[in-house]
């Protein structure tokens, strides 16, 4: 069995079939990229995986378990973390607090203990802080540790959001357009980080991306969608040369 698989996945919004019988398999340690024109259903697939939407049909398998009906807050605990296309950070909290919230899947909050701030709470907070500091070191976020997200430039926010996802210690990381809105240099940095996340941290990456240079640089396999259907799957070069993909992007 593969590490993560979608099996005949479908999602209908009324009469619109946003995702229509899509199947794919991601192997452990791969960077798997989904491409496609606007409205092809890429983000919908992400929202199905993180259980914001209920799938209308098909199954999602993660480490041989069916996660199609798991409650949304359970997904992080199972080892799947994600970022969002338009950045969903906690804007009126500091970068550190955002990263610490990423540790929530590992926290065992107990209201009475926390009200009194018993030593156990303090010890756990220290452990979470150490884990968050590792991510800060990994992504070079030291200068921004105590600044509020609302005051940070867009490029940094993008990295912070990735850091927050890494704090959950995922085995599968979903990146929704990691390079959107970034400058050329920041996109290059992002490519290195995705490489590092895969090779150094051993995290499998599922990514939605439009920037084909980034896609070619980091992806092991690429899936092309159009109108909710898979039209091509293979290496980056194979997919880019596929006649249906060219047709989907250029028309004709």
């Amino acid at each position: 069995m593969s590490f993560f698989a979608a099996d005949n996945l479908g999602m209908n919004f009324g009469g619109i079939r946003a995702v229509d019988g899509v199947s794919f398999a991601v192997e452990r340690g791969q960077v798997f990229t989904i491409i496609g024109p606007n409205g092809a259903g890429k983000t919908t697939i992400f929202n199905l995986v993180s259980r914001i939407y209920d799938a209308s049909g098909g199954r999602l398998l993660f480490r041989d378990e069916d996660i199609t009906r798991v409650p949304p807050h359970e997904i992080a605990r199972r080892g799947i973390a994600r970022t969002f296309q338009n950045i969903e950070l906690f804007e009126h909290a500091s970068v550190l607090q955002n990263l610490l919230l990423g540790r929530h899947a590992h926290a065992r909050p107990h209201l009475v203990q926390e009200l009194l701030f018993l030593p156990g709470v303090r010890a756990r907070e220290r452990a979470h802080r150490e884990a968050a500091e590792k991510v800060i070191d990994f992504l070079d976020l030291q200068p921004y540790r105590d600044s509020l997200v609302v005051n940070l430039p867009y490029g940094v926010r993008k990295v912070v959001e990735m850091g927050r996802a890494l704090c959950t210690e995922p085995t599968l990381l979903l990146l929704d357009e990691p390079s959107s809105g970034l400058s050329v240099e920041e996109t290059a940095d992002m490519a290195f980080w995705i490489e590092d996340i895969r090779t150094l941290l051993g995290i499998t990456v599922l990514m939605v991306e439009h920037d084909m240079s980034l896609v070619s640089a980091v992806s092991d396999r690429v899936l092309a969608l159009n109108y909710g259907r898979a039209i091509a799957c293979g290496s980056s070069r194979e997919v880019q040369e596929h006649p249906d993909v060219i047709k989907a992007y250029l028309g004709g």
Binding site: S50, I52, P71, P72, H73, E74, I75, A76, R77, A81, R82, F84, E88, L89, F90, E91, H92, A93, L96, Q97, L100, L101, G102, R103, H104, A105, A107, P109, L111, E114, L115, L116, F117, V121, R122, E125, R126, H128, R129, E130, V150, N151, R164, T168
Partner: protein, 380 residues
């Protein structure tokens, strides 16, 4: 300029940033303990500030930190007040037990409101809490066996462990102790995972959920905690006013609580207290001004001639004796705050702090970009 120098993670875990800040808070504590010596005449009003402070902390947790705006908090205050008096005077339970039970009952009511409210956000949730408050007020009127209905219910002075808190001074210290306790508990939760989860829900529910926050559980917890604090405040409130009647716990009181957290500054415990001072002291200031300002102005204008002095006195006197002046001024101040200082009194205070700590280098533009509204204000 002071730069905090951090060497251990515990420095970020502490309640206070550094020893300097801890000393400032110690000084503040000493000041409020000695305050009765300085203003013995206003002790009753200041006790009210402290009780409102607890209410402010309660609503701040819900509206300022979790982003759930409630217009029904007077109902929780009422539940706490009536329950406390019922347990104390009808069941003759010890004071501490009665207060704890009142807080627990109010928290349970909070869960009851919270559960259906989970499916609502923004302005719809606010309407739901408003409806709840109206229902509860009706219950207060009709359930005469417990509340004595419209006849009202007199409340005895508190006696705790045989110690009577009859004097204004003793009651002041009682309120102070409860407020400090409430602040301590709340600050503890806010620096722990639960508090972070609340802030996460406020800023982005969808991201909080993806990070493993169980939305329903944490929203319910916020409701329960907030209502529980309100119930505890209600117990003190009952002793403070000495006579309970259903029309005290009206929507207007709920609006005052909301005003308190908005004017104080959403998203900070300081703000809750600034707001409490503002809301509880403004009526006192207005009534003082009502008595004195026309005379002063009359005397001042009298320098221009006897007739001018008389005219100014009469005009001002007629103006300040208008009914509805107080709500008018309240409303005006609220509008001005939302227009010019969305972060409230606390936001203004932070700006002052930055001004002095960076003194010759202060840039006006430092806060320019920060005129952003928190999501709980934007009402998604």
């Amino acid at each position: 300029m002071r730069v905090p120098f951090k060497t251990t993670y515990d420095q970020d875990l502490g309640l206070f940033q550094d020893p300097v800040q801890r000393r400032w808070y110690a000084a503040l504590l000493a000041a409020v303990i000695l305050l009765p010596l300085a203003v013995p005449d206003f002790l009753v009003d200041i006790s009210m500030v402290l009780i409102y402070g607890i209410c402010g902390v309660s609503l701040m947790v819900l509206a300022g930190y979790t982003g759930l705006v409630s217009l029904g908090h007077a109902a929780f205050l009422g539940i706490g007040a009536y329950a406390h008096v019922y347990f104390l005077q009808d069941l003759h339970l010890p004071w501490i037990v009665a207060m704890a039970l009142a807080a627990a009952l109010s928290a349970a009511a909070g869960v009851l409101v919270g559960l259906p409210a989970l499916r609502m956000t923004g302005v719809y949730l606010t309407i739901a809490t408003l409806a709840f408050a109206l229902i509860i007020q009706e219950v207060f009127t009709r359930w005469e066996h417990v509340t004595h209905g419209l006849k009202g219910r007199p409340v005895d002075k508190p006696v705790i462990f045989g110690v009577s808190f009859t004097s204004d001074l003793a009651f002041y210290y009682l309120c102070l102790a409860v407020l400090i306790g409430a602040l301590w508990l709340t600050a503890n939760v806010l620096r722990a995972p639960t508090g972070r989860a609340w802030v996460a829900i406020r800023d982005s529910e969808i991201a909080a959920q993806s990070m493993g926050v169980h939305l329903a559980r944490y929203k319910t917890m916020a409701f329960a905690y907030s209502a529980g604090l309100m119930g505890a405040a209600g117990a003190l409130f009952a002793h403070k006013i000495g006579f309970l009647a259903p029309d005290i716990f009206s929507v207007l009181l709920s609006i005052q609580f909301l005003l308190m957290v908005v004017v104080g500054g959403l998203g900070s415990l300081h703000g809750a207290l600034y707001g409490a001072v503002f809301v509880a002291m403004l009526p006192v200031l207005i009534s003082e001004a009502r008595d004195n300002v026309p005379q002063w102005a009359g005397h001042a204008a009298g320098a221009l001639g006897h007739d001018a002095g008389n005219a100014v006195y009469l005009a001002l006197d007629r103006f300040v004796k208008q009914p509805g002046l107080e709500p008018g001024i309240f409303g005006l101040i609220l509008v001005l705050f939302i227009l010019f200082e969305p972060l409230g009194i606390y936001g203004r205070w932070r700006k002052l702090q930055v001004f002095f700590s960076t003194f010759p280098l202060y840039k006006r533009a430092t806060f320019r970009r920060q005129k952003t509204y928190m999501r709980s204000e934007r009402l998604r």
